[in-house]
């Protein structure tokens, strides 16, 4: 009986999560927004088409060489490890919001369901989502290892099972941390703290992970080992990455299940499944203990009922702002008080320059890095234009302009009912987005300056050119979002991360930056290096001016539209 309930719950949650019925209704029944379906299909095909050469041209030769050097197993364990780490970082937010902040949880709590049942169904749904990570990071390695090592059918069946379980452990790990933590930290008072705390841990983890790996690589490089010694060292279980694989039980068990044969392989596979089962049972126990009580705490919202003194009252209400200032305050308050917006917006623009500096600091003594520096020295005159493009890339990756109106959600209706001019709204969103982007541009210019050791004037030139290009790119992103904002969401993170406009923005930004870079490369014979930055500046200024007009027209149209 309970199994049937659990099946119904899981299927319903999967349907709700992926909006299967809604999509079917929109595309098949109503035959509406078919362009959206075509766009998603096209993006998936383009992604696969661009990844096939990457796997066949880059990964396959690497795998062949690795197997020859006796390092094939290391490739497998690393793929497993990295897909798990990536899955952990990417799935953390989704899992926490699915457990505690999603609308469907509110609908499930009053129903006669056990916390463990709700948790199992949610965990299963999020894990399916996360399998995309393994699909790109783990499956190609398993397949290529199998092909190049002439593995039999049993290997591929084991590989399939390993793949299906690959994202479960990271999600179980998050659950094991979050449930006991919820009993210590009173999240109802610190709801935002939970998101900030976890986000910071993740960000710091990524940065330190990157730094640690680089430091390790540096130590190995400076030890003066020959390539043969290096191969031996890499195959040695004491190696750093192997240590992690051993310390991360699923990677170790999966590796043995895949690479051993017969009964031994089956035993390792059973152990692999057993570890997941044990962790799952622990999570179920924790859920029964903490899940619903934590959720209940999160619902405890009550007004303070504190009476304001006359002075306080006057202080609050006697300040008058112009319409523009009032809109600007609204924009900033909404941005800063929704951690999903503020953290994502800021993190997206600073993560790239930070990683750049950390990588450079960690890899400074590696011969390959030194070679790269010598290469940069030879083309010093290209540092400023390339740096400008990188600054533009970092600055325009905030995803804030691509969600300028999507982030409003249903609040856009409120905005529409107010006597405000769409131009004022656009101006506010323009300033806000570009100020956040400015942080990314400046950080990137400084990072490029730090690595390539250029002067302050050149750093300034990178910042200015990068900023002009960013404004242009931000305008393009805002046009996309103004044309079709995603206003229906129950979780703010969806407005940024599960928004098709964000996907389009990434395509525009990457297409523009790499397109211009490629164009610069093929025209390097005809355009003097000194002219490249003025040309980029001109593109930025002209592009910003032209798109500004379109943006205003689009905004007016949006405010006239039925929402």
């Amino acid at each position: 009986m309970r199994a049937r309930k659990l099946t119904s719950l899981t299927l319903t949650l999967i349907n709700e999560h992926y909006g299967i019925s809604k999509k079917w209704y929109t595309y098949a029944v109503k035959k509406q927004r078919l362009w959206e379906a075509a766009l998603i299909g096209g993006a998936v095909i383009a992604l696969i088409a661009s990844l096939v050469p990457l796997y066949s041209e880059l990964l396959n030769p690497l795998m062949i060489e690795s197997i020859k050097m006796g390092m094939g197993k290391l490739m497998l364990s690393n793929a497993f490890l990295y897909s798990s780490i990536f899955g952990l970082f990417l799935g953390m937010f989704t899992l926490i919001s699915s457990f505690f902040f999603s609308k469907e949880t509110a609908a499930l709590i009053p129903l006669p369901l056990k916390p463990a049942e709700v948790l199992s169904a949610k965990l299963f749904t999020v894990t399916i989502d996360q399998l995309v990570v393994s699909l790109f990071m783990l499956v190609p390695v398993i397949v290529l290892y199998g092909i190049n090592s002439n593995m039999q059918i049993g290997y591929y069946i084991t590989g399939l099972i390993v793949f299906l379980f690959s994202q479960l452990f990271p999600m179980l790990l998050v659950s094991i941390i979050i449930f006991p933590l919820s009993s210590v930290v009173k999240f109802n008072k610190n709801k935002d703290f939970m998101i900030f705390f976890i986000s910071t841990v993740v960000l710091v983890g990524v940065i330190f992970g990157q730094y640690y790996l680089n430091q390790f690589a540096m130590n190995q490089s400076t030890a003066g080992l020959s390539s043969q010694d290096m191969a031996k060292l890499l195959a040695n279980p004491d190696m750093f990455i192997n240590k992690i694989s051993m310390a991360y039980p699923p990677a170790f068990l999966a590796l043995n299940a895949l690479t051993q044969s017969g009964a031994s392989s089956i035993l390792w596979l059973l152990s692999y499944i057993g570890v997941h089962l044990a962790a799952f049972l622990l999570v179920l126990w924790l859920a029964e203990k903490f899940y619903f009580s934590t959720y209940s705490e999160l619902q405890e919202n009550a007004a303070g009922k504190k009476k304001l003194s006359d002075n306080e009252f006057e202080k609050v209400f006697s300040v008058k702002s112009t319409m523009y200032r009032a809109l600007m305050k609204r924009e900033w308050r909404y941005f800063l008080r929704v951690p999903a917006f503020s953290f994502n917006g800021l993190a997206n623009v600073v993560i790239f320059p930070i990683l750049l500096v950390v990588f450079a600091a960690g890899a400074y003594n590696i011969p390959e890095f030194q070679a790269l520096m010598t290469f940069i020295d030879q083309y010093k005159e290209l540092v400023v234009p390339v740096g400008s493009l990188l600054a533009a890339l970092a600055g325009s990756m905030s995803l804030l302009p691509a969600s300028a109106f999507s982030r409003e959600g249903r609040l856009l209706i409120e905005l529409k009912t107010l006597p405000v001019n769409p131009t004022a709204v656009i101006k506010v969103k323009f300033v806000h987005s570009n100020l956040i982007s400015g942080v990314g541009v400046v950080c990137s210019a400084l990072a490029v300056g730090f690595i390539s050791k250029i002067g302050w004037l050149e750093i300034l030139l990178i910042a200015v050119t990068g900023y002009l290009l960013t404004i242009f790119l931000n305008n393009l992103q805002m046009i996309v979002d103004t044309a079709k904002p995603m206003l229906e969401w129950d979780n703010p993170i969806k407005a940024m991360k599960q928004n098709i406009n964000g996907l389009l923005a990434i395509a525009i930004v990457f297409g523009f930056v790499f397109g211009l870079g490629y164009l610069g490369y093929i025209t390097r014979e005809y355009i003097p290096n000194q002219l490249m930055n003025p040309v980029l500046m001109l593109i930025g200024i002209a592009g910003s001016l032209i798109t500004w007009k379109t943006l205003l027209t689009q905004a007016k149209k949006l405010f006239e539209k039925d929402l």
């Binding site: 049937r4 319903t12 009053p110 129903l111 006669p112 369901l113 056990k114 109802n188 705490e297 619902q299």
Partner: protein, 253 residues
């Protein structure tokens, strides 16, 4: 059927939303829970439904302790929140089926009940559409259908009339009366005094987390004089709204 005993809810360790309330709602009774905004009505109802955990006190539904056996207690409740809690990307039919699965409603019974309820509330033609396409009123009606699909002995409804069209409101009121007549219990909150006056067997007035009055409408009239329930309500809750001169709002620019 419903027994609240010394029920208290304190938010953030400081705000007492519900302060030591005790009441019993018997089988066959329609019980109205009245009170101004922020009085503690929804908090009490959320504790009944299992969304909030009481700080102290106990809740019994059909003799089952809500805290000790929450699943069994919930099986006896049909709960409609003040804001419809529905999954929006699935269709109405899928949602009803899911709720029926959770409450173990046999297919034959669910088909019959769903058909009747959907017809009453005029949702029969929308049931195959995603809930996101529904209006607020339609969502409220679907929420009612889901709450009643498993024929629970106890209905707990938080302002169920809000958002309903007059015909649906009339149907719901009739259903509430019929449900109570069959020996079941209806516990609901409302701001509409006429509704409370017309259909409630007993009412409770709650303000600042405390129950100020509990009894029949006749009993409250006997105690406070023959006047409208609205006036009695304002008097009991110490409202000074009657004395306010609102002409100020129309004279200042």
């Amino acid at each position: 059927m419903i027994e609240l005993s010394e029920l208290t809810k304190v938010y953030n360790g400081t705000v007492k939303a519900v302060d030591d309330i005790s009441l019993t709602v018997k089988p066959g009774e329609i019980f109205g829970f009245l009170g101004p905004n922020g009085a503690g009505k929804s908090t009490s109802i959320k504790m009944l439904a299992g969304i909030l955990k009481p700080t102290s006190g106990s809740i019994k539904i059909c003799g089952i302790d809500r805290m000790k056996d929450p699943i069994k207690a919930k099986m006896n409740i049909g709960y409609v929140p003040d804001e419809p809690l529905l999954m929006e990307k699935i269709t109405g039919a899928e949602y009803i089926n899911f709720i029926a699965d959770v409450f173990d409603v046999p297919p034959k019974i669910r088909t019959e009940r769903a058909q009747k309820l959907l017809e009453y509330f005029k949702l029969i033609n929308a049931v195959k559409d995603p809930i996101s396409t529904y209006s607020h009123g339609m969502r409220q009606k679907l929420s009612l259908v889901c709450a009643l699909i498993h024929n629970p002995p106890v209905w707990v409804l938080d302002e169920p009339i809000v958002g309903l069209d007059p015909e649906s409101a009339f149907i719901l009121k009739k259903m509430m009366v019929s449900h109570a007549k069959s020996g079941n219990t209806v516990f609901f909150s409302t701001h509409i005094m006429e509704v409370a006056e017309k259909i409630c067997d007993r009412i409770a007035i709650i303000s600042k987390g405390k129950i100020l009055f509990i009894g029949t409408v006749q009993e409250i009239r006997k105690a406070k004089g023959e006047q409208s329930l609205e006036k009695i309500f304002l008097e009991v809750t110490d409202s000074e709204s009657e004395k306010i001169d609102f002409s100020y709002l129309d004279t200042n620019q």
